[in-house]
Amino acid sequence: MKSKIGIVFLFFIVVVYLFNTYIQNLKQKDIDNILTLKTESLKVSTRAILDTYYSVTKKFYFDITHNDEIMEMLKRFKTSSENEKKILRGKLYRKLYKEYKLLQELSVYQFHFHTFDGKSLLRFDQPYLNGDALIDFRKSIKNAVINHKETIGLEAGRVYSGFRYVFPILSKDKGYLGSVEFSISFDALKYKLISNLNLIDAKFIIKKSESYDKVFKHLRALFSKSIIDDDYYIERVSYKQKDIFIKIIKELKKQYNIKKLLSQQKNFSLPIIYDGNGYSLTFLDMKNTSGESIGYIVAFDEFERLLDINKKYSFLFEIGILILMMLFALIIVVLYQFDKLKSDTKKLQKLIDLQESIVILTDGNKFEYANKSFLEFFGYETFEEFLKEHNCICEYFEDKDDFFSLDKIKQGEKNWIESLLNIPLKQRVVYIKDKDGIAHMFNVNISKYDNETYIVSFNDISDTIREKYQLQKQVVKDKLTDVYNRSYFESNIHKLIKFYKSEDLKLGIIFFDIDFFKSVNDTYGHDVGDYVLKTLADIVKNNIRKTDKLIRWGGEEFIVIASVNNLEELYILAEHLRNKVQDFRFDKVEKITCSFGLAIHKDDIDIYKTVKLADKNLYMAKQSGRNKVIS
C-alpha cells in the first residue's frame, strides 16, 4: 500500500510539475504578447523622434550652407594662419550662437563644426575645446571628409556619445569645407519617450568601449557605470535616480541574467513585480553608424496587467492543484478501499478454501471465486481454466424433479441466486455431476457478502437424500413383491392424477387378484403362495409400461395405475396381462389365473370411488367365472 501511495504521489508530483509548466507557459505567452507591444511601441516612438530630429537638423544644415557669410568663413578657415583661425572660430560662434540656443531648446545638445581635414573646429557646448583630430575616432566624420556624404546614427565621441546627424559642407564649386554635426541629447530622447509612452523613467546605457574609453580623459567623470551592468555606462548621471528604478534593477538582476541578455544585442523586455506593483523594463538595442550594437535604450514602465495576469494564472493554478489534490486523495481512498477489499477478499478466500464443501463467490451472473473443493469436484487445476469453458456453476445444475435448475427460474427473477432465495431453504437443492459423472446433490446456502457479492456454499447431501429415498422406497414398497404398496398409492395418487391431467391422459385403474389363491396356500403352503405372489408381480411389472404403476393393494389383490386415452386401451392392457398370467407356468402350482376389474377415473369423483368401481367390476369378473376382464 505504501509503495502504491508513493507511486501515486510521484505521479501527482509529475502531474503538478507538468500542470505548472503548462500554466507558466500560458502566462508567459500572455506576458510576452504585451511586452512585445511595449517593445514595438518603444521602437516606433524612438524612430519617430529621431526622424523628426533629422528634419529639424536638415533645416539648420540647409540654412548654414545657404548663408554666404558662414560659407566664406569656412572657406577662409582652410587657408588661414592659426591666429586668423582663432578669430574665425570666434566669429563663427558669434554668428551662430543664437541658433545654438534655439537648438538647445530643441534638445540638440551638440552643434559642432569640423574642419575640412576632420578636426574639431567649434563645439558650441564647449567652444574652448577644439582642434582635436576626430577623423580616426568618428566614422561619420571620415565619411564626410572622404565621401562627402551625410551620416545619421548613433556614434561615440570625444565629449559625448550621441545620436548624430553629420552633414558635409560643400562650397558652390563643390570644394569640401568641412562638416557640421548635430547631436541629440539622450536626455531629450529620454524625456520625449517618457512623455510619449507615459514611462516612469528611461535610460540610455552605452558600452564602456563606446563611451568612457573614447571621451577625453578629463570628461570621463561625466560617465558613470550603469547599475544595470558594469560593462555599460550612463552619461550625465543624476545622483537622484529614482529609488524605485535602482531597487527594481537590483531585483531584476536576481531574477535574470541581464549580462547575458545584453550580450545578445537584441531587443528584449523583462517583467517584474516589486512591492505589489507590476513593472517592465524594455531594452531597445541601439546600433552605431557601422551597424554594431553599442547600447540600449531602457524604458522603465508600469505593467499593471502583469498583476492581473499573475492573479489569473495563480487562481487557475490553485484551482488546478486543488482538483489534483482532491483527485490524489480520491485515488488514495480508492486504493485503500481496493486494498482493504483485496485483503478482505483474500481472507475470505482463505476461509473459503478451508471449507470442505464447495463455496463460490458470485453476484449471480459473474463468477468471482471458487474454492479448492470446487476445482477438485469439477476437475480443474485453476479457476481461470474453469472460466475459459464456463461462466457459472449453474450450468451444471441438472433438471430433475425435486431439484432446482435454471429451468425453474421464474419470470422477473434476475438470476439463479435470486430464484433460489425466493424458494424455501429445504428446496434449495441442486443436482450436479462431478468430473467422473457421479451425481451429487447439494443443499445450497446463500449468504450476502456485500452489496453485490454472495457467498454460495454447496453442501453435499447426496448420502442423506439417497438414504431418504431408500427409506421412502421402503415405506411405499411391498417387501415381498417389491412393488408399490397402498401407502404409495395414498401418497402419490393425487400427483399422478394431476400429472395425467396435465398430459391430457386418463387415469385407468386395473384391479385384479389371483383366482383361488387360498387353495394355493392351503395346498402348497405359504412359501409357494409367496412365490406365486412375487412371480405374478414380476410378470405384471414386465408387461406394463414404465409410467404405469403396480401396487399391491392387499393379500392377493393388486392395482395397476395406467395412463390411457380411453377404457378400450385399458381393457386391452388388462386383457394382455390376463393372458400373460394365464400362459405363465409356475413351479409346483403350474398354472394360475387372475380376474380383472377396470375403471377410468373421472375428475369430479373421488379416486377411492374409482377404485371401488374397479373392485366391483373385479367382483363381477369373479362371479362370471373368473379369469376374465370386466370393465
Binding site: 582663432k86 578669430i87 574665425l88 572660430r89 570666434g90 566669429k91 560662434y93 558669434r94 550662437y97 567652444p127 574652448y128 577644439n130 582642434g131 567623470a221 561625466l222 543624476s238 545622483y239
Partner: protein, 273 residues
C-alpha cells in the same frame, strides 16, 4: 580641497563614533559637478574612517553665511572674496587648508579679457560681463583692474552677472559684452576663440576649506590640519579628486590683503534682453 577637508574631518573623529559633517560646496557650480569633484575623497573617507558627508546645496554665499551663523553648516569650500566677505560678518569661520589651482599654484590671478577684433570705444560706457557678486574675479577685481588699466569706474559702466567665468567669457565671444572679468586660467582657454587678456591682477590667495569654529572644536581643527598637511603630493594624487592638485596651510592672515571695504552690487545694471 574638499577631499582634503573630508580626510581632515575623518582623522579628527577617528576615535569617535561615526560622524556626519554638513558641507556646503561652491554655490557657483552645480551640485553634480561638486559631488563629482569630492566623490573620491568622500568614498575614501567613508570606507576607511566611517565619516559621512552630507551635501548642503545652497544657492548663494548669503545662504552659506546664514548656514554658518545658524550652525547648520560645519564646513564650506570658498573662494577668497566670499571668505573675506563672510568673515567680516561672522568671525567664527576660519580657513584651514588651501587647495591648489589646476596649474599647481596656490595663488591665482584675475584678468579682464575681450574678443580680439572688437574695438572698444572707451569714450562711451562699456559693457562688462561678470561672474558672481561674491566671486573674487567678479565685480571686486574687475572694478580694480578697470580702474587701474583703463581708468574707468565699473560702477559707472554697464555690467551684468553671467554667474560663471566661462559664461562671462562666452558672452564676450557672442558680442554681447565688450569685456569680461574671469580667472586667468579660464580666460586662457578661450584663446582659441580669439579672446585676449587685456589686464592682469596681482596674485591672490586661492580657494580654501573653511570651518565653523562653533561646531568643530579647535583641537579637532588643528589635528585635521596636521594630518592633512602630512600627506605627500603622491598620497593626495592617489586619493584623487580635487585634493590631488595639492594642499597648503592657510589662515585668515593670507586674506588680509584683500580690500573688502568695497560695496559690491548684488545685481547688474543692465537689462540685456
Amino acid at each position: 580641497m574638499y577631499k582634503l577637508f573630508l580626510i581632515l574631518i575623518l582623522f579628527l573623529t577617528l576615535n569617535a563614533k561615526e560622524i556626519t559633517y554638513r558641507f556646503a560646496p561652491l554655490p557657483t557650480k552645480n551640485i553634480e559637478q561638486n559631488i563629482k569633484e569630492f566623490l573620491p575623497i568622500h568614498v575614501y573617507m567613508k570606507e576607511k574612517y566611517g565619516i559621512n558627508i552630507k551635501y548642503v546645496k545652497l544657492k548663494n554665499y548669503k545662504d552659506i553665511l546664514n548656514g554658518f551663523k545658524n550652525n547648520t553648516i560645519d564646513i564650506a569650500y570658498l573662494g577668497p572674496l566670499p571668505f573675506v566677505t563672510l568673515y567680516n560678518e561672522y568671525k567664527q569661520i576660519e580657513p584651514i587648508l588651501m587647495i591648489k589651482q589646476k596649474n599647481g599654484n596656490a595663488k591665482y590671478r584675475c584678468v579682464l579679457a575681450k574678443f580680439k577684433v572688437d574695438n572698444i570705444d572707451f569714450s562711451k560706457k562699456i559693457k562688462v560681463a561678470l561672474t558672481q557678486p561674491l566671486s573674487t574675479c567678479g565685480y571686486y577685481m574687475s572694478s580694480i583692474l578697470l580702474k587701474k588699466k583703463f581708468n574707468k569706474d565699473l560702477k559707472d559702466e554697464y555690467y551684468n552677472y553671467e554667474m560663471s567665468h566661462t559664461k562671462a567669457l562666452i558672452s564676450v565671444v557672442e558680442g554681447r559684452y565688450d569685456m569680461a572679468g574671469a580667472k586667468e586660467d579660464i580666460a586662457k582657454k578661450f584663446d582659441s576663440l580669439g579672446v585676449e587678456i587685456i589686464a592682469y591682477s596681482d596674485y591672490l590667495p586661492g580657494f580654501s576649506i573653511v570651518v565653523n569654529k562653533n561646531t568643530i572644536s579647535k583641537k579637532q581643527i588643528r589635528k585635521l590640519q596636521k594630518i592633512f598637511l602630512n600627506f605627500t603630493d603622491e598620497e593626495l594624487k592617489k586619493i584623487g579628486g580635487i585634493v590631488s592638485r595639492g594642499i597648503v596651510k592657510t589662515s585668515v592672515d593670507d586674506y588680509k590683503s584683500l580690500n573688502i571695504k568695497m560695496k559690491i552690487p548684488q545685481k547688474g545694471n543692465i537689462n540685456e534682453e
